[in-house]
């Protein structure tokens, strides 16, 4: 998106003052309305589709496969791939999104969750596909929140078949067998446990202020950017600075970073609650 000098100046004035006025009348820590659905792909264990009002859309799928475990590393059992429509597979955004998501997931998923028996475990293949994004986007990092929400919802709606054979197979030669009744399938992330996949929040810095979920115009005037992770009900690693456009770049101060963490801390819980209600209200067609 190309802004004229006047437009840019106007936006900067509005966003960098002590009282922030965003072009779409949002609060600094308010999200745009998100539209999402879950479990609509019959071939996947979990799936989701998330859409933003500016037309960006991401579809995520989780597929599980039983594999023989050789090492006890969770990273070997996780396979995260991001695909952005129209971008090459080795484009910077595609590669870094995959590794950011994989690392943050590996920290949040305990090995016991995927372990099936002594010898076998589930291998998760998580695919996120960005179908569309605003045409004048200046940096792909702004859609990281969208991708992480899609992955969150897909994982939350993932259900795995119930194991009917024994879990102690260190001595016996037995391949795991499963119940063929999908009504007995259990969720990968049980409802009653606090355990949840991580979310990543992108914030744009304009002057002394930080804006959550920046829109395309706000990205254009952003002076710097940050993304902050949110897992097990508090903000935390990964925290990283990202450049949201190529024109202006100013340094982040300590205050900005602390501000970002406390903003994410305060809104993270309600975002999780909203996303969880989508998972609970979605009825699987299959």
């Amino acid at each position: 998106m190309v802004l004229s000098t006047t437009e840019r100046y106007y936006l900067l004035e509005c966003l960098s003052g002590s009282k922030v006025i965003r072009a779409d009348a949002r609060r600094v820590d308010q999200f745009r309305p998100v539209e999402a659905t879950c479990s609509f792909l019959p071939n996947s264990n979990g799936s989701s589709r998330v859409r933003l009002p500016d037309g960006s859309e991401c579809i995520a799928s989780v597929k599980a496969k039983v594999v023989k475990v050789e090492s006890s590393e969770v990273t070997d059992l996780l396979n995260v791939e991001v695909d952005i429509n129209g971008q090459r597979d080795d484009a910077e955004a595609v590669v870094s999104f995959s590794s950011i998501l994989k690392e943050s997931l590996a920290q949040c998923i305990p090995e016991s969750l995927l372990k099936l028996t002594e010898k076998y475990a589930f291998e998760l293949s998580i695919d996120a596909i960005v179908i569309s994004y605003p045409s004048g986007i200046s940096s792909f990092y702004s859609i990281l929140t969208l991708v992480s929400m899609a992955v969150y919802l897909a994982l939350k709606s993932t259900s795995l078949p119930l194991l009917t054979s024994t879990t102690e197979d260190a001595e016996v030669e037995e391949e795991p067998t499963f119940s063929d009744d999908w009504d007995l399938a259990k969720l990968l992330f049980p409802k009653d446990r606090l355990l949840a996949p991580p979310l990543l929040f992108v914030l744009a810095m304009v002057g002394p202020n930080l804006l959550l979920d920046p829109s395309v115009e706000e990205l254009e005037v952003a002076e710097n950017g940050l993304f902050v992770g949110f897992a097990s009900n508090k903000a935390g690693a990964p925290i990283r600075s990202i450049s949201l456009n190529s024109t202006n770049n100013k340094g982040l101060s300590t205050n900005h970073i602390l501000d970002a963490v406390s903003t994410v801390d305060s809104v993270g819980g309600s975002v999780l609650k909203a996303l969880n209600s989508i998972v609970e209200n979605s009825t699987s067609e299959f």
Binding site: L41, P42, N43, S44, S47, P53, D54, G55, S56, E57, I59, S61, K63, K65, E81, D83, N85, G86, R88, D89, S125, D127, I129, I131, S132, Y133, P134
Partner: protein, 246 residues
């Protein structure tokens, strides 16, 4: 020999259909109003295809612009999770490239391209789930999305697959299991006529049974055209009502 009974003596197929029945066909037009000029979503049985059309717009490259007529680009991408076993296809997969070439050829003739000189029409197809009839679902989705984009076309192109069982019984609208077992062809029919805009036959189908297969495929395509037409007209009515209220 297959594990499945493709066509039972009682006349039922693996999924319980008769020989001349199409699968559940559902389509939506204008599914992505903000992110594209035209969009559609087609479900043919368990095959799910999403189509986004951009354009007519100014091409990014000079080489894509022609003063005589508009140019058309079709991109097909099959998501890695589309099949039961996860399967990541490389971007330059031969089959996918062939598929987009076939679609480009078909729609070059279906769109009134002379109305769009120096313009580019870009069609992006995303295959979300795959259970047979890939080309057919892509064709139907493209037809609907182009209509939604308001691009002038001569008529609907509606498409379906048909195969032959035991050299005698033609079967309509095959799923993956049947596609793997039988010789089949895909047709794309122009509107309500019996003219074909698209014919793809990659397996052996006996010459003597070709007529039967084509007949049922054309009849199936007409049915799909009807279903698409209902959806397009419903959407049109809905849009007119919205405008009238304003």
């Amino acid at each position: 020999m297959s594990r499945f009974e493709i066509y039972s003596p009682e006349g039922l197929r693996v999924d319980g259909r008769r020989w001349n029945e199409i699968r559940r066909f559902e389509c939506r037009i204008n599914s992505h109003p903000t992110s594209s000029d035209g969009s559609s979503y087609v479900e043919q049985g368990n095959t799910k295809v999403l189509c986004l059309v951009q354009g007519p717009m100014e091409p990014a490259l000079r080489s894509q612009s022609s003063t005589a007529q508009g140019s058309l680009i079709v991109n097909v991408s099959v998501t890695p999770f589309a099949t039961v076993e996860r399967n990541k296809r490389p971007r330059n997969d031969r089959r996918i490239q062939e598929l987009s070439a076939t679609l480009t050829r078909t729609f070059n003739k279906a769109i009134v391209l002379k109305n769009y000189p120096r313009s580019l029409i870009q069609v992006n197809l995303q295959v979300l789930a795959l259970d047979g009839g890939l080309l057919a679902a892509c064709t139907n989705a493209t037809t609907l999305a182009l209509m939604d984009a308001g691009i002038s076309m001569y008529d609907y192109i509606s498409s379906v697959t048909a195969g032959i069982f035991d050299g005698q019984t033609p079967l309509l609208d095959l799923n993956t299991i049947e596609e793997n077992e039988l010789g089949f062809l895909t047709v794309g029919v122009i509107g309500e006529s019996e003219k074909l805009a698209l014919l793809l036959m990659e397996d052996r189908v006996g010459m003597d049974s070709l007529e039967k297969v084509l007949a049922i495929a054309i009849a199936g395509s007409h049915r799909i055209r009807e279903l698409m037409d209902i959806q397009v007209r419903n959407y049109g009515k809905h849009k007119v009502a919205k405008l009238a209220n304003q």
